[in-house]
């Protein structure tokens, strides 16, 4: 549609037609009804200038296609911002490397009972999970930055369900955290993790799922936080216990009861367990060694079967996603 066409049709319509279409009370807004008619019902009060050559547009929106498009662009923004932020990429990689090669190498000399298994092989799935945890929590919390720098308001006033913002952010967090995790997967061979395509794909899938859940958790934590100063201690407070109580750094069998309980209520434990079980199923080790290093999560003696841990992470994502949607429905 050219400018002239647009303006001619404009000029002939009368004022307020869109408004009268909508006078019935209770007409819903999301139905894709002829709501805006943005361009159709504009009065031409004064002579038109030919300086503005921009044709009016008519919004398509309201339906599922619009929703998906909104989710997609919010996701895209996360990815673009991540790709443009070299410090974040580098610092996100340094931490897991320190864990794996510094902590892992240092401790492997004193850790007993590994029956010849490199402690760093044991550590690897834990570090993958932690890397995802750090990156994803920050993706979620970054909404506080969006709020502080004003951009959140641009999203909040858009004619799209608030859940699109939440879902887009979570998918963005999952993508960026998993992209970073790929670098870790690539170096797994250095610590004795076999390069098996199915294993790597499986780990990648678990990273996506875990980071999605953790981003949603970060959003829930950040939903009512108004300033960056308040967000930083919040991140610290959330991250440290989730990391130390997860079994990422030590096997979670034979722990004192209090630690047993704390690790079992930490959702990260199940993500770590799912990844470790997957890695160990590709190692050639005897069952006694495996039972020591990867005893699985037990609930009061009952062994949580493989697969249920994944289900628990899925449940966590759904609960956090719902929570974040509810919290942002009322946000201003």
């Amino acid at each position: 549609m050219t400018a002239t066409e647009g303006t001619t049709t404009d000029g002939t319509t009368t004022d307020g037609t869109a408004a009268t279409d909508m006078t019935i009370e209770g007409t819903t807004t999301d139905s894709g009804a002829p709501t805006t008619g943005a361009s159709a019902a504009r009065p031409s009060l004064e002579p038109r200038s030919d300086r503005v050559t921009v044709a009016p547009v008519r919004l398509a929106g309201g339906g599922p296609a619009h929703y998906v498009r909104a989710v997609r662009v919010i996701w895209l923004r996360e990815v673009l911002r991540f790709a443009g932020d070299r410090t974040r990429i580098v610092s996100g990689l340094i931490q897991p490397f320190l864990f794996l090669f510094v902590l892992g190498t240092g401790l492997s000399r004193v850790v007993a009972h590994t029956n010849g298994v490199d402690y760093r092989t044991f550590l690897f799935p834990g570090v993958v999970a932690l890397s995802v945890l750090f990156t994803a929590v920050f993706s979620g919390i970054s909404i506080v930055w969006d709020r502080e720098f004003g951009f959140l308001r641009e999203m909040l006033v858009a004619p799209v369900r608030r859940s699109a913002i939440v879902v887009g952010k979570c998918l963005g967090g999952a993508t960026t955290a998993s992209l970073q995790g790929i670098v870790l997967l690539a170096i797994g061979g250095l610590v004795g993790v076999p390069y098996q395509p199915v294993l790597l794909l499986g780990l990648f899938g678990l990273m996506l799922l875990t980071s999605f859940a953790i981003t949603a958790l970060g959003l829930v934590l950040a939903a009512r936080v108004k300033t960056i100063q308040a967000a930083m201690p919040l991140v610290q407070m959330a991250l440290a216990p989730m990391m130390f109580l997860s079994g990422a750094l030590y096997p979670i069998g034979n722990l004192p009861t209090w630690l047993q309980i704390l690790t079992r209520i930490n959702p990260v434990t199940y993500a770590v367990e799912a990844m470790r079980a997957l890695v160990f199923s590709y190692l050639t080790i005897d069952s006694a060694t495996r039972a020591t290093l990867d005893p699985g999560v037990t609930w009061d003696g009952w062994r949580v079967p493989g697969g249920l841990d994944v289900v628990l992470v899925v449940v966590l994502s759904l609960v956090m996603l719902t929570g974040a949607c509810l919290l942002f429905r009322k946000a201003e």
């Binding site: 807004t29 805006t36 547009v57 919004l59 932020d85 502080e148």
Partner: protein
């Protein structure tokens, strides 16, 4: 002989009858709109109709409730009471319809500094569901209109305040809104950028017949609106065209300096029954009807040597003064409520 002076009086601000139903054909229609924060009435009962195609301004000092009203109109703040209809849609019950009909430029910028100008516009087009085939052309046209076409691929973080404002205006128009809200669009801008922003506002109303609803605490900006509402402490204290408001004040402002200001003030009081206020610089200010005719009498009859004298037609600040008893700049310097949370930027 006494001279007619202006006085502070409670006044019907004009506008729609309180309690009447909102006008669904209006661009903006408010009835008894209220917003309470704690025990502060940020908006204390507003009745207002803004017609389609109008350029309408809220003029008022900081804390008057201008931004709060805009936030209610764009559905991010829920009113405590009253009704608000924007482009025919109720802000509480038809949120998405309202959002699709309006464009917004907030007082604080809402751009993503890490994205380019084009990316910011693309984000907006996707969020608002602007058809893809139109979005690129419209974005390009708007970027040209605001003179940013050559910077379309620069990160917004590298833009000056004026460029950001222009980009925000372009973005606010991307989805062809019927009503464009501009909250203090020129605050913090240099005079050239301010003039540019106004150029677009004028162009828009001419070319697209769009309704522009803006807030300001600059008098000269309020002058450019078709109609203005003067706000103070959550209320509309005056509502009309700028000319009509000034004409209603009636009195002109006379400012004079004399070698002996005290004697001059006394003479004004006894001979003309005029009470003048003495400014910090010793100049005397008072209001009289038809100041230009008063001036010759003043020069002849005052009996105290005058060093300088000027007569000014009423300004909107005089209107504000007549309705509230203080000037806008005075009201600005005294915070009307608890200090606002500010963004550290």
């Amino acid at each position: 002989m006494a001279v007619e002076t202006s006085e502070v009086s409670p006044h019907d601000p004009g506008g729609p009858r309180p309690g009447s139903p909102p006008d669904r054909d209006a661009a903006v229609s408010l009835r008894g709109l209220r917003k309470r924060y704690g025990n502060l009435d940020a908006v204390a009962g507003i009745d207002l109709d803004v017609q389609m195609g109008e350029t309408f301004g809220f003029l008022g000092p900081n804390g008057a409730g201008k931004s709060t009203t805009i936030k209610i109109l764009c559905t991010i703040v829920e009113p405590t009471g009253g009704a608000a209809v924007v482009a025919g849609h109720d802000v509480l019950r038809e949120r998405n319809a309202v959002r699709r009909s309006i464009g917004l430029v907030f007082q604080e910028t809402t751009l993503d500094d890490y994205l380019t100008a084009a990316q910011n516009l693309r984000f907006h087009a996707d969020l608002y569901g602007v058809p893809k085939r139109d979005a690129v052309a419209r974005a390009q046209g708007l970027l040209e209109m605001v003179g940013l076409a050559d910077r379309r691929d620069s990160k917004v973080g590298t833009f000056s305040g004026g460029m950001k404002r222009r980009l925000e205006i372009a973005r606010g128009l991307l989805h062809s809104p019927r009503v464009l809200f501009l909250d203090e669009p020129t605050v913090g801008l240099d005079p050239v950028s301010r003039a540019t922003v106004w150029k677009y506002v004028d162009e828009l109303r001419r070319a697209e017949g769009i309704t522009v609803f803006l807030t300001t605490h600059y008098l000269d900006e309020a002058e450019r609106c078709d109609r203005i509402a003067i706000m103070a402490q959550g209320r509309i204290v005056a509502l009309d065209t700028p000319d009509a408001l000034k004409a209603a004040v009636g009195a002109d402002r006379v400012r004079l300096t004399a070698t002996d200001p005290v004697a001059a003030a006394t003479a004004l009081s006894t001979r003309f029954d005029v009470e003048a206020t003495t400014g910090a610089d010793g100049a005397l200010t008072f209001h009289v009807v038809d100041g230009e005719r008063f001036l010759p009498r003043l020069l002849v009859e005052l009996g105290v040597p005058i060093t300088s004298v000027s007569v000014t037609r009423p300004t909107l600040d005089d209107v504000f003064f007549a309705r509230t008893g203080s000037t806008i700049s005075d009201a600005d310097s005294v915070p009307a409520g608890p200090p606002r949370m500010r963004r550290p930027r």
